[in-house]
């Protein structure tokens, strides 16, 4: 039994066997050293590990910058000030503001002028009803007994 038949090959394969034998001989001459190949492989596999931390830090920094930018862009813009709201606020009066409307409060808010003693005149009718104050002097004399 030939070697070819032992391997389960069919007959008539000698020419192919020769072609492959030539190919094998050429490949063996060109084969790299086993040890060199393994050492190069070990060095190549260590290189990515050396830069792994730098790569991770760079990715984390990029992610943080992206997040900050995202938050900045996603923040809603300030609404324009509405004039109506300003007018409403400026016209607002406190419910207890009437307590400040006391007689003679203009004296506290105005400056006295030279020669003007009007502020010294005391209203004698202060505290009386308005109708009584407006009564003419003649009518008052007639009412006297």
């Amino acid at each position: 039994m030939s070697e070819s038949e032992e391997n389960g090959r069919s007959t008539g394969t000698e020419e192919l066997a020769q072609a492959f034998a030539q190919l094998r001989a050429e490949d063996r001459r060109a084969a790299p050293s086993f040890r060199d190949l393994v050492e190069r492989g070990v060095r190549a596999s260590e290189r990515p590990r050396r830069f792994a931390w730098a790569a991770r830090a760079a990715v984390a920094a990029c992610a943080l910058v992206g997040l900050a930018l995202g938050l900045l862009l996603a923040r809603p813009a300030r609404e324009p000030v509405v004039e109506g709201v300003v007018a409403e606020l400026s016209g607002w009066r406190s419910p207890t503001a009437f307590l400040l409307d006391t007689p003679g409060r203009e004296l506290a808010s105005a400056l006295p002028r030279l020669g003007d003693f009007g502020y010294l005149v005391v209203d004698a009718h202060a505290g009386r009803p308005k109708a009584e104050r407006a009564e003419p002097l003649k009518q008052r004399k007639e009412r006297r007994p």
């Binding site: 070697e3 090959r9 394969t13 020419e15 066997a17 072609a19 084969a31 190949l37 492989g41």
Partner: protein, 173 residues
């Protein structure tokens, strides 16, 4: 270089290295640097214990299976990278660059013509023929390395052999 995990020593790998290189070269379509990278990855997996030999087949057959697995994984990764490049970037690097003068000179030999003829076969036919004729495995063993049944391996072997013979005859080898 220390001994390997799972019972496979560096010395055993070194003994099988010429055959493994031929197999890697065949899987890489004759690309020497690609074949070396395939072998580097396969050897590192074996020496670090990532790939474990459990004695269910011959060590040589198992080693060829590991090299083939690495080759398939690398092709898958390369395909994903190519896809990503096509999708996101401008057209990538040329897939099949023109051969240099040294490569053209090398291609003139008979071995190179055999390699070119093999490249025109289907991947399965090429793998089975290489394992049977180059590595002198049986057809059943070749089927086990490629991951197909013995019957299927025989079919690929017969068809591949006929086609290769025709291709070599056309090229005047």
């Amino acid at each position: 270089m220390g001994s390997a995990a799972a019972g496979v020593s560096a010395e055993e790998l070194e003994r099988l290295h010429p055959d493994a290189f031929g197999w890697a070269l065949s899987l890489a379509g004759g690309d020497r640097s690609e074949a070396e990278e395939l072998l580097q990855s396969a050897y590192l997996r074996i020496l670090t214990g990532t790939a474990r030999f459990e004695g269910r087949s011959r060590l040589r057959t198992w080693l060829f299976g590991v090299v083939r697995t690495v080759c398939r994984e690398r092709r898958r990764q390369a395909a994903v990278r190519r896809l990503a490049r096509l999708r996101w970037l401008a057209p990538g690097e040329p897939v099949d660059p023109a051969p240099g003068p040294a490569e053209l000179a090398e291609r003139s030999g008979r071995a190179a013509r055999t390699r070119e003829a093999l490249a025109r076969l289907s991947a399965r036919q090429r793998e089975v023929l290489h394992l049977v004729f180059y590595q002198e495995l049986t057809i059943e063993e070749a089927g086990a390395v490629v991951g197909i049944s013995a019957g299927s391996a025989r079919t690929h072997y017969e068809r591949g052999k006929q086609r290769l013979r025709r291709l070599l005859a056309e090229e005047g080898t």
